[in-house]
Every structure is written in structure tokens, then in C-alpha cells.
């Protein structure tokens, strides 16, 4: 066990001398900080740039009453263009609403099955499939609405047009369901096992335990998941552009074609001259969309975070 003593190599760092490593560390610290604040810079940047482009319209042609309460979106009318987005809001709301009717029960049911009933390989398999479902691009969903759902709806319901609220609602529901499922599953998983054990010790069946104990305990997380789904439906563009029929209508039934806020921007921005009132009006819709989704996401996050803390 005896050997030569430690030979100090002589290049021991000097505690009173800052070396290259010290400066590199400082520089890296500033660099990553700059990247770290990028998200804040970008969020503010998005709001600023979209607002700046829409500002001209907001200051001159914008009338709150017309914008939100008129159902006439006729920006290309030569004599008297009108910029009412009520029909577009109604279109977005009806499609998102139907999507939620489809997505909420299915994603909740799937989440309960995955979190509470399925085990081992089945659970893994289901989770992977749900993840793949979430990966399908929105333009592909739009194409599916256009070329698969459209003829199907015409056949089944004997209606002249299959591009309508029903079509887009189902498509959007399928799109929103995966994220809602995985958030709901997280919320169910977050309920401590001792709740289940306590309830089971009292003689409840699995379903009674879920219904009476687990679901109430996971309430907030589930609500957060639904809100995120709403946010996603609200902001979806390509699928609703392709599946709604893109016709300005105040919706009366699920078989009406409608037009969504997002789709309007996507369809018209390319045809407008930069800086024209029409162009600026589209950016104003953008501000509206940004604000709504911002509020929805913020609320969802606060709700979800709230349960994680307690």
C-alpha cells in the first residue's frame, strides 16, 4: 500500500487568479440567460408585431360594434366594405363546441381506461397509439375531412354538402382528443394511491372508487385538460379551413357550412395588399385570436398547476 507521495503537478489553479474557465463560465451564463428569456421576448414580440401590423385598422376603420356584432364580413366590397366577425366567431365556436362534445367523453373515457383499468403492455400500446394520433399534421386531417368524411356525410345524412360543422367538429374532436387524453391521464395518475386504497378498503368496486374518489380528486386537472383542448380547437387552422366548407354563415344546424376566424386569415392574407385595411383587419383578427388563446392557456395552466401544488 505504500507508494510515491502525491506529486503536486505544479499547475494548481491560483485562487486569486481568474482563468479562461472562469470567464467561459461567465460568458456561457449570459448566453444561456439570453436564450432563456427568448420565450418571453417572443411572446411579447408576437403581440407587438401582430398589433403593429393591425394598428392602422384599429385606429381608423375599426368600430367595436361592427367588428364584434356584425355578421357581415365583406372586406372586398368596393363601395362599403364591412368588417364584422360575428359569423366567424360563431363558426369557430360551433365547430369547437361540437369538437368538445366529441372529444371530452372519449378522451375522458380513454384516460380512465388507460390510467385505471389497462395494465402493462396494453397500457403502453394505447399510450403510443394516442401519441401517434397526436402527431398527424393538421393539413392531413383537413384532407381527411375533405376526401373521406365529406362523401361519407353526404351519403349517410343525405345532405348536399358534407363540408360543414359536423365534419369539422368530428375532425377537430379527433385532433384535440389525444392531448386531452394525456393531460387527463396525468391528472388521474396524480391522485395518490392511498385514496384508492382507502376507498377499496371500505369495500367499493373499482368503478365506485373511480367515480366517488378519483374523479373528484382529479377534477381540476381534467378541467385544465378540457381547456387546453378548447384552446387547441380555437386556434386550429388548416383542418377547419378545409373541412368547414369555408362559407360565411350564422350556423343553424350541424349541416351548415361555416367559416372560422383562423381559416379566414389563412384564406385571405395572400390576396390582400400589405397595409390595406383588409390586410390590417386580418391582423386585428390575429390579435383577437392571440388574446383569447392566451387567456385560455393561462387559465388552464393556473388550474393544472393549482392541483399539482396542493
Amino acid at each position: 500500500m505504500s507508494q510515491a507521495p502525491l506529486q503536486r503537478t505544479g499547475n494548481l489553479p491560483d485562487i486569486n487568479q481568474r482563468n479562461a474557465d472562469w470567464y467561459i463560465d461567465k460568458i456561457v451564463q449570459y448566453l444561456v440567460f439570453l436564450s432563456g428569456i427568448s420565450a418571453i421576448v417572443l411572446i411579447v414580440g408576437i403581440f407587438v408585431f401582430v398589433t403593429v401590423e393591425g394598428l392602422g385598422f384599429l385606429l381608423e376603420d375599426f368600430s367595436f360594434k361592427e367588428f364584434f356584432l356584425s355578421q357581415w364580413w365583406e372586406p372586398t366590397d368596393d363601395d362599403e366594405p364591412t368588417y364584422g366577425i360575428l359569423a366567424l366567431i360563431a363558426g369557430t365556436a360551433s365547430v369547437t363546441g361540437l369538437a368538445m362534445l366529441v372529444a371530452i367523453p372519449f378522451s375522458l373515457g380513454s384516460a380512465i381506461y388507460i390510467a385505471e383499468f389497462a395494465t402493462g403492455k396494453t397500457r403502453e400500446f394505447l399510450k403510443i397509439l394516442i401519441e401517434l394520433l397526436a402527431a398527424v399534421p393538421s393539413v392531413v386531417w383537413g384532407f381527411i375531412g375533405l376526401s373521406i368524411m365529406n362523401p361519407l356525410i353526404i351519403d349517410i345524412f343525405d345532405v348536399p354538402v358534407g363540408l360543414n360543422i359536423l365534419n369539422a367538429g368530428i375532425i377537430l374532436g379527433l385532433m384535440a382528443a389525444p392531448i386531452m387524453t394525456s393531460i387527463s391521464e396525468d391528472a388521474l395518475k396524480a391522485v395518490p394511491d392511498r385514496y384508492r386504497e382507502a376507498a377499496e378498503a371500505l369495500g367499493g368496486t373499482r368503478w365506485q372508487v373511480i367515480y366517488k374518489t378519483v374523479l373528484p380528486a382529479a377534477k381540476n386537472g381534467l378541467l385544465g385538460g378540457v381547456l387546453l383542448g378548447v384552446g387547441r380547437g380555437f386556434g386550429e387552422t388548416m383542418a377547419v379551413l378545409m373541412a368547414t366548407g369555408h362559407a360565411i354563415n350564422m350556423p343553424g344546424s350541424v349541416f351548415d357550412s361555416v367559416r372560422a376566424l383562423t381559416a379566414t386569415i389563412a384564406a385571405e392574407l395572400g390576396e390582400t395588399a400589405v397595409g390595406s385595411p383588409h390586410y390590417q383587419a386580418l391582423f386585428t383578427i390575429g390579435i383577437f385570436l392571440f388574446s383569447i388563446t392566451f387567456i385560455i392557456n393561462l387559465t388552464a395552466d393556473l388550474i393544472v398547476r393549482g392541483i399539482r401544488k396542493s
Binding site: G36, I40, F106, L126, E131, L133, T181, I265, N297
Partner: protein, 298 residues
């Protein structure tokens, strides 16, 4: 115990028990069916795309340009354009995203400012894609003067998918136990030396998982590139980041809605190529993740 009859009775199912069990089975099956119904569409869609689209897919389809007003020919310019857009977007978003995650995981103190950053990331992920497009037009096309170009479109895509990279990277950095960092600091390693020599090497596969996921998402995006750099039809291939380009996702939109008299198989073929790319990358990401989970490093 003195009376075995009573003990036996305790294990007999009461009527109440039976009905409760029935309800349980009923719900179990109901939820299973719901999960099945959620997944069924994917299978139907994949099958339909496969049946209707596979006939058109050939070497020529993948590697020639569209002809006859986009009603015939291949998708090569769109395919190449997507590679350009995704590649440039990655070059921008991966360094920024990884650095941001390093800041949040390794440097950020637990205070209101860090919470604000996290909130911004969540909200950035929730901004509608068409609003990202508007931002791209206002900021990159007009304000920074890139014009409608690959650069402007890729930057828009990078902004949009930044949260994916940040969140995935942060998660894999935080999976490295704190004790390793402290051991390094105790030996006199700077934070950066610790990150570079111990933390990053042990989370690089997790980061890769996130990057693949980001590539997959970027590939499918359409709205953000419509007005920032992707065009319906361009007869020449892009040569620099300042050129416009075609893109696969936009091409699917164009051939299925904007071009008359397209043979049915064509859009199905485009959709099939697009979804195959996306699902393949997603599966790779999932496979990598599962492989990592099985590998024990500490």
C-alpha cells in the same frame, strides 16, 4: 370461527355485490370501447391513405417535378423544400432551445421571473399557428426584410416549435440527479464544465428524442409557412435561404383544394408520403425513449 357456516357465508356474493360487479364490468367495457374508438380512426385513415395513395408512389413520383399544372408528375420540389425548411428551422431552434433549457434547468433561480419564463413557454406553445404566420409576416418578412423566403418561413417554424425543444431538453436535463452536479462542483468544476462534461452527455439522447419530435411537428406545419416562404408552385429548386420554395404540407393543401382536375390518387399519394414521414419520425422518437428507459446508467 366457532360456526363455519357463518364464515362461509361471508364469501358468498350478495345481490348488491353482484350488481356492483356488473356495473364495474359495464364501465370497464365502455371505457375500453371509447379508447378503441379514439384509435380506430387512425387505423382507418392510414388504411385508406395506403389503399388509395400507394398506387401512385414510385421512384418517379418522389424524384420528379409536378407537370401539367400540378395534375401529374411528382413531388420532388415539395419534398426538397420541406427538407430545407425543417433543416434551417432546426439550425435556429435547437441551439436556442437547448440553451434556454440549460438556463432553466441549471441556472434559473426559483423566483417570479423564472415562473414568468415558464408561463411564456406554455403560452408560446398555445399560440395558434396562423398567429405565428402573422408574426412571421410582420417580423421576418417585413420588419427584418427577409421577404418571403426559406429563412423567414424557417424562423417562423423555429419560433413555433421552440417550446417542444425547450420542454423536452429541460426534462432530460432534470433527469440527471443533482448529486452528480454537486460532486463536480465540489471538485472545482465550473457550472459550465459540469454541464458540458457530465449533464449534457447524460441527457443527449433525451434531447435527441425531443428534436426528432420537433422535426416531425415542423414537417407537418402548413399555416406558418403559407405567407412567409412557401409557394404553391415554383418551377426551380431553391438555391439559398433567400429563395421561396414549395413544401410538402402546403402541396397537399394545394392539390386537394386549389387545383382543378387532379386525379384522385395524387393528393392521397402526397398525404401518404407526408404522414409516413411524420409517423416514422414519431415512432423513432418513441423507440429511442423506450430504449433509454431500459438502459440503467446510475
Amino acid at each position: 370461527m366457532a360456526n363455519p357456516g357463518i364464515a362461509d357465508n361471508q364469501f358468498l356474493e350478495t345481490e348488491l355485490n353482484v350488481s356492483a360487479k356488473r356495473t364495474e364490468t359495464l364501465f370497464r367495457i365502455l371505457f375500453m370501447v371509447m379508447a378503441g374508438l379514439l384509435i380506430l380512426p387512425v387505423l382507418i385513415i392510414l388504411t385508406t391513405l395506403l389503399v388509395k395513395g400507394s398506387s401512385i408512389i414510385s421512384f418517379d413520383f418522389l424524384f420528379t417535378s409536378p407537370t401539367d399544372g400540378m395534375t401529374a408528375g411528382g413531388i420532388f420540389p415539395a419534398l426538397l423544400g420541406t427538407v430545407w425548411l425543417v433543416g434551417v428551422a432546426l439550425i435556429i431552434s435547437v441551439p436556442v432551445g437547448v440553451a434556454a433549457a440549460v438556463y432553466l434547468s441549471e441556472y434559473a433561480p426559483d423566483n417570479w421571473f423564472t415562473r414568468a419564463i415558464n408561463l411564456a413557454i406554455i403560452n408560446l406553445a398555445g399560440v395558434p399557428s396562423i398567429v405565428h404566420a402573422l408574426f412571421g409576416v410582420g417580423a421576418f418578412v417585413i420588419f427584418f426584410g427577409f421577404g418571403t423566403s426559406i429563412l423567414a418561413a424557417s424562423m417562423t417554424l423555429a419560433v413555433m416549435t421552440l417550446p417542444v425543444v425547450i420542454v423536452a431538453t429541460r426534462e432530460s436535463l432534470q433527469a440527471v440527479p443533482q448529486a452528480f452536479r454537486e460532486a463536480c462542483w465540489n471538485m472545482g468544476a465550473t457550472r459550465w464544465q459540469t454541464i458540458r462534461r457530465v449533464v449534457l452527455p447524460n441527457s443527449v439522447s433525451g434531447i435527441l428524442t425531443g428534436v426528432i419530435l420537433e422535426v416531425s411537428r415542423t414537417t407537418g406545419e402548413t399555416a406558418p409557412i403559407m405567407f412567409t416562404g412557401a409557394a404553391f408552385f415554383i418551377p426551380v429548386l431553391p438555391e439559398s435561404v433567400f429563395d421561396q420554395t414549395m413544401a410538402l404540407s402546403l402541396h397537399l393543401f394545394v392539390v386537394s383544394t386549389q387545383v382543378p382536375n387532379v386525379p384522385e390518387a395524387l393528393p392521397y399519394g402526397v398525404a401518404l408520403v407526408l404522414i409516413s414521414m411524420v409517423l416514422l419520425m414519431n415512432s423513432a422518437s418513441i423507440a429511442l425513449r423506450m430504449h433509454l428507459r431500459g438502459k440503467k446508467k446510475w
